[in-house]
Symmetry: C2
Subunit: 424 residues, 2 copies
Amino acid sequence: MTVGAGGKTSADADPLMLVRAIADADRRAAHALNLVPSENRISPLASLPLASDFYNRYFFNTDGDPLFWEFRGGEDIAHIEALGAAALRRMASARYCNVRPISGMSAMILTVAALSPPGSTVVSVDQNSGGHYATPALLGRLGRRSRLLNCKDGEVDESELAEVLAPGDVALVYVDVQNCVRVPDFRRMSDVIREVSPGTRLYVDASHYLGLVLGGLLANPLDCGADAFGGSTHKSFPGPHKGVIFTNAEDVDESLRSAQFDLVSSHHFAETLALSLAALEVEDRMGDYARATNDNARRLAGALADAGFRVYGDSATGYTDTHQVWVELDGVAAAYALSNRLAEGGIRVNLQSSMPGMSGVHLRLGSNEVTFEGAGPQAIEELAGALVTARERALGPRTVHEIRGRFGAPFYTDPEKLKVEAGL
Amino acid sequence: MTVGAGGKTSADADPLMLVRAIADADRRAAHALNLVPSENRISPLASLPLASDFYNRYFFNTDGDPLFWEFRGGEDIAHIEALGAAALRRMASARYCNVRPISGMSAMILTVAALSPPGSTVVSVDQNSGGHYATPALLGRLGRRSRLLNCKDGEVDESELAEVLAPGDVALVYVDVQNCVRVPDFRRMSDVIREVSPGTRLYVDASHYLGLVLGGLLANPLDCGADAFGGSTHKSFPGPHKGVIFTNAEDVDESLRSAQFDLVSSHHFAETLALSLAALEVEDRMGDYARATNDNARRLAGALADAGFRVYGDSATGYTDTHQVWVELDGVAAAYALSNRLAEGGIRVNLQSSMPGMSGVHLRLGSNEVTFEGAGPQAIEELAGALVTARERALGPRTVHEIRGRFGAPFYTDPEKLKVEAGL
């Protein structure tokens, strides 16, 4: 393709042709099985606001104040943001829920801004033990000092934590573990913080395992002494690309609201409606979904290990407490050959090169999306079989179709029912 | 409605019923005429990716590197982001275009992080002369010192600018004028900066008038000595809720890329595709659209002034150089009565209480969306007539329908043509 630096658009950049290419790729995507732990597939119901006019609009008047309709159009649906936030609060057993961040990183920036002053020190988890790649650099850019903590396999060394807190300048411990099959013991961390540095805030960025916390499968950070927790809403929680922050403390909620006012203007109204619908739709089954997600992750890990893959962890502990399964591969060429064969066959895996305790290019798999779509034990066994096959050769043209044939009911509203009952 | 703090969802929060309410509100929104300068209506073509599976996906491999498909699914459309960025670069006559910010505020955070170190001073424009409400507080939260500059009616006092620069600690002048009918003279600002403080960067946050710059109607900040400019892409530019930053300087582009890596993870792929399509779709007519937008704003201002509204500015200078028209009203009660009557009749206006040089609650109108939809002189006259009517009484039930009947061709692809030619 050629696109001139100036002048007219080339034929290859005809938007009608590009739309056709997107539609073609979208049709393929509809059938693909995604094993990417940081992605999920928003439900047909929850996705409806994204294609509505509300995508184009600002919305500030959450409380429906008759003298605050500076921006109009949301009058008849103003209550939906609050209903969704209430559903999220119920799932998180939290008094306060802030749904204004527009992404997981937006939630991170907002939390750092709200809970640590410029010039203070923020402790986060070393990337080599599962911390988010961006946190230390982000802290530096925001004028905070970064100090790192190790968290090997979910274990925080209490004396190391006491040591990083000792200088007395730590405003916030930001637990940003994202790559984990074991979640840290927040209670132990909280106990050390309360003893050594009682003024230090504890925040848990649960982006990856948020759905497992909201489903009651993993410990709720608020019950373990954290001041707040939150993260992105599109990984193990099946929502749109947004962020959410929970707390039980009124002053923390106030600090978050104040920071949000300064750092978020439009909170992406259509996506906030989508988050509300996603929360209300899944609420009654969130526990089942979380349970099934981890069951499927363990089954996938076990089946892959049985077939000779080098899976992180061991069978005695079920390999994983989350939706993630990590698999070592034999070098870059083999990794890409496997990923390419799978992608051609309609199975999309996530290659990574920086997981703690892993070497080379490896697989970071997630059971969250296929579980949301209805994958049960048999589908997972066959999915593992497809990964085994793809080590050697291309998948058969009907492999994905057959695996999908094993799926049970999804954790979302059937699109046909949606059409009939919602009058669409 | 009642929603229990715990336990089951109430009937009022049934997601199927909420979807029905959203669909009903959306049908009304489809016909409404929006006169909100900070909003636009994304075209039917550009909105298509928002409802696609790409909404759910991460995408990093802009260059299509065969060994960088860590996240899969975008292989066949990877080039569209680059094609869109090229179209934006052509419109901005810029060498570099960063399309990774996920909103206007995201672009602001990224620019501040990239172009000023923590602890340095950033100069922005006082809200009382049109600056963005959030900038000074945002700078404080990011560990920068904020210093304000006045910019009355687009005029920057050169000696005042020299004075704020004099201490020698200003890393960045961030021109965040959003509420303006006159755009500042960037060349004069740049000349003062180069003379008094040559190391200081000049950035223009053109969020509101971006479309008018890209259409060649307003001076291009890069031609006037600015190091970079950008902003949100859904106001006078008819795109999705995203952000964009342009520069001609390789080192500035590098700084932005580096900050983006630390501050943005997912750049909202579906919305980036939407931005590409919006840019490619409007490129050939961007000049005409910008011209028509300002023509319509001037016509609207004139018609309202002729009918006795107190319009900011004067007829000798055409009231406005942008898409904005400001109108004083007679107190809060009258303002809401007017806004409510208009909203009930299908015309949505924007009430504000903090425009420079205005008192009380007033109208901040924008011609950008109705112009994008095809409003010409006659439609604008009738729209002004509807505002005049609504001062006294309710609009007739067919008013909006009749105004829409005067519209010419929109600046976007006809939805029927889209259906046929794109095979949808």
